[in-house]
């Protein structure tokens, strides 16, 4: 058995080989590279990649880093290109799992595109691998950068809220939406599997701590991703007809079970110099998010 936090899997159920080949250009300890491993549970994947870190990770001509079909597309266009691809495959009876793999940057600039595809309930899976800033261009603030996190465009700490992208996507009345974390790969894999059994627009918001972007050691990616969940700062949930907080996050419904937030914050250079008041403010924001999601769980039973 492989323990992935509270989710366990039989080792034989796990994908042994990634669709991303070794020796690719990803940074040391790259969270996308961990997350992308999960895609190998999908049948006939076709990957659509807009501009972002994964543009680079995908390899340098003539050597592709993926051993699945990949189409590179402009920044804001991914969900629309995927819509066209899906239309063609449907017309021709081609079986494929069309996956848009994008970062929070592409989700920002391509938000209308994403929303349009969700409204049309296009038969695609969208994974936003969220490292909470525009990392590929050198760590600039995005709409999912955490409040007070330092980036190169918010050197004193971001002054705006982190947008809850997954909840916004859920409100499109899509058949499947979830959050996931590279720290809990079995949970992410289970979600991908479940998503792959559903037709229509499926959305997964994947939390992806970035060593150079958040300023922590490359060995800590999984550990910090887990701390985000254990402190309650990142909450794992799934909606597929009903809404539920999923296993790795379940214990932390009870605030007293959570690891102190400071344990998460102190690991990262981006939060260096936060005042005690700031930390308290973040805690209250986290509390608010829990209330919101627990209310959802009540509503969508």
């Amino acid at each position: 058995m492989v323990a992935g936090g509270d989710v366990s899997m039989k080792i034989d159920e796990l994908p042994r080989r990634s669709s991303l080949l070794p020796g690719n250009p990803s940074c040391q300890g790259c969270p996308h590279a961990i997350g992308l491993k999960a895609l190998s549970v999908l049948e006939n994947p076709v990957l659509i990649i807009p501009a972002g870190c994964t543009t680079i990770i995908a390899g340098i001509h003539p050597k592709a880093a993926f051993n699945v079909p990949v189409l590179h597309v402009p920044f804001a266009s991914a969900a629309a290109v995927a819509s066209g691809l899906a239309a063609s495959y449907r017309k021709e009876g081609v079986e494929a799992s069309i996956v848009v793999w994008m970062g929070d940057g592409a989700a920002d600039i391509g938000f209308a595109t994403l929303s349009g595809a969700a409204v049309r309930n296009e038969d695609i899976i969208v994974v936003v691998s969220d490292n909470e800033a525009y990392m590929n261009t050198g760590i600039q603030s995005s709409s999912t950068t955490s409040w007070k996190a330092r980036t190169t465009t918010s050197p004193g700490g971001k002054s705006e809220e982190k947008k809850d992208l997954a909840a916004i996507m859920l409100m499109h009345r899509i058949p499947y939406a979830a959050t996931a974390s590279v720290g809990y790969l079995p949970d992410f894999i289970n979600k991908l599997k479940r998503a792959s059994e559903i037709d229509g627009f499926r959305f997964i918001h994947l939390h992806s701590p970035c060593p150079p972007g958040w300023r922590f050691d490359s060995s800590k990616t999984v550990e910090i991703a887990r701390l985000a969940v254990k402190t309650g700062a990142w909450i794992l949930w799934e909606y597929s007809g009903r809404f539920r907080i999923t296993s790795p996050s379940k214990p932390y419904k009870d605030g007293s079970k959570r690891v102190p937030l400071e344990e998460y914050i102190k690991t990262q250079g981006r939060f260096k110099g936060l005042s005690e008041e700031d930390v308290e403010e973040i805690k209250s924001k986290i509390e608010e998010q829990w209330k919101f999601l627990l209310a959802f769980e009540e509503i969508f039973r």
Binding site: N44, P45, V46, I48, T55, I56, A58, G59, I60, H61, P62, A64, A65, F66, N67, V68, P69, V70, L71, H72, V73, P74, A76, S77, A79, A80, V81, A82, S83, G84, L85, A86, A87, S88, Y89, R90, K91, E92, V94, E95, A96, S97, A112, T113, S115, G116, V119, R120
Partner: protein, 378 residues
């Protein structure tokens, strides 16, 4: 079958007869009725296609990029601000060498808001690697659309059919519609440089050595050059099957013995031809070279056909800080020209205007760059 159709409906019929399988578009006046008609055809199952109701023009071209790269004949249409909004995709589709057809119903660019024609929007596509055509009448808009699929798929380059707002898009003319059987016989199976298919693990468009970008551009340039012959050949072959030939890249009108040659493009060429006929009766030897294609650009034809003629280029567009865009292009091929800028923002320019304009040109009373009519700009 002869039938009365607006330019927009004629293009929709052409898309149907060409058996496009995926259509994506976002409405913008004056293009809207093309895609409304196609949406209706899809819903009534008159055409075996998917219609994707995208949320923007950027997504319209992105979606047909996806469907075309997956291997199906695809179509979109836009105008003006819509074209500018999808501009990034315009370049991407061309550089990716994906065959597809787009209609651009030409409309001026704001502000002020104005839905009427000029050619500035279409000509922004100039350097992008699209084959760019422009119709004079509804029949030609239909014919270019059908030919567009063939040319695009053979050249491995996207194809655009330009036609003027309202003058063609919303004006009904009698059109000869070929049968489905005849179009099927004329239009070959779709082909394209590559496809994206599951289980064929290729990566398209990843970063690579700079030389690869340079080689791709050079190959595009060469393919575009070859497309000159292709356009002329397709025009001839189309003529053999359907009885209509236009002359390929350019159309000549009373040009051979002309002392004065007018170079222009689009729907108003019809009015200018009427003016030429009238001036001919007055013994003024004027002729026309109508640009049917803006890219690839017919330098060779221009040099040959305009030799030893006084040349007037009439532009419905302007390159700020320089001159009319056709003016720039034509002078790059043949040198000295006179350039009239007229009809900007849909300002009406009729037969009388052209008559007066050509007469003034022959009398050497036009400036090198003249905004027409002079009194409007005093």
């Amino acid at each position: 079958m002869r039938t009365l159709l607006t330019g927009n409906y004629a293009v929709a019929e052409a898309v149907k007869l060409s058996r496009a399988r995926v259509i994506a578009a976002y409405p913008i006046t004056p293009q809207t009725t093309i895609v409304e008609k196609l949406a209706e055809m899809v819903e009534k199952k008159e055409i075996d296609a998917e219609f994707i109701r995208v949320e923007s023009e950027h997504s319209a071209l992105a979606a047909v990029y996806g469907s075309a790269v997956a291997g199906l004949r695809s179509f979109t249409a836009t105008s003006s601000h819509g074209l500018l909004y999808m501009y990034e995709m315009v370049w991407w589709v061309a550089n990716a060498r994906v065959p597809l057809v787009m209609a651009v119903v030409t409309r001026t660019i704001g502000p002020p808001w104005n839905i009427h024609t000029d050619h500035t929007d279409l000509l922004t596509m100039r350097d992008s690697g699209w084959i760019i055509s422009m119709a004079e009448n509804v029949q030609e808009a239909f014919d270019l659309t059908v030919q567009g699929f063939r040319i695009s798929e053979e050249a491995g380059l996207p194809f655009t059919v330009g036609m003027d707002a309202f003058q063609l898009s919303h004006t009904a003319e009698v059109v000869d519609l070929p049968s489905q059987q005849d179009v099927d016989a004329w239009l070959p199976e779709r082909r394209q440089p590559y496809r994206i298919e599951p289980e064929d693990p290729v990566t398209v468009g990843c970063i690579g050595p700079n030389e690869y970008t340079a080689k791709l551009r050079c190959n595009m340039a060469r393919e575009m050059e070859k497309a000159k012959e292709l356009v002329n050949r397709v025009d001839e072959e189309f003529g053999k099957s359907f009885g209509r030939r236009y002359g390929g890249l350019v159309e000549e009108y009373r040009l051979e013995d002309a002392d004065y040659a007018v170079v222009m493009t689009g729907a108003w060429s019809g009015d200018a031809k009427d003016a030429i006929d009238m001036l001919r009766k007055e013994k003024l030897r004027v002729g026309m070279l109508r640009l049917r294609y803006f890219r690839p650009f017919p330098q060779k034809e221009l040099r040959k056909l305009l030799e030893e003629k006084e040349v007037l280029v009439v532009d419905r567009d302007f390159s700020m800080g320089h001159m009319g865009i056709l003016g720039i292009e034509v002078s790059s091929a043949i040198g000295d020209i006179t350039n009239v800028i007229a009809g900007i923002g849909g300002v009406d320019v009729g037969v009388d205007d052209f008559k007066m304009m050509f007469r003034k040109f022959a009398d050497k009373k036009l400036r090198k760059i003249e905004w027409w009519p002079e009194e409007m700009f005093l």
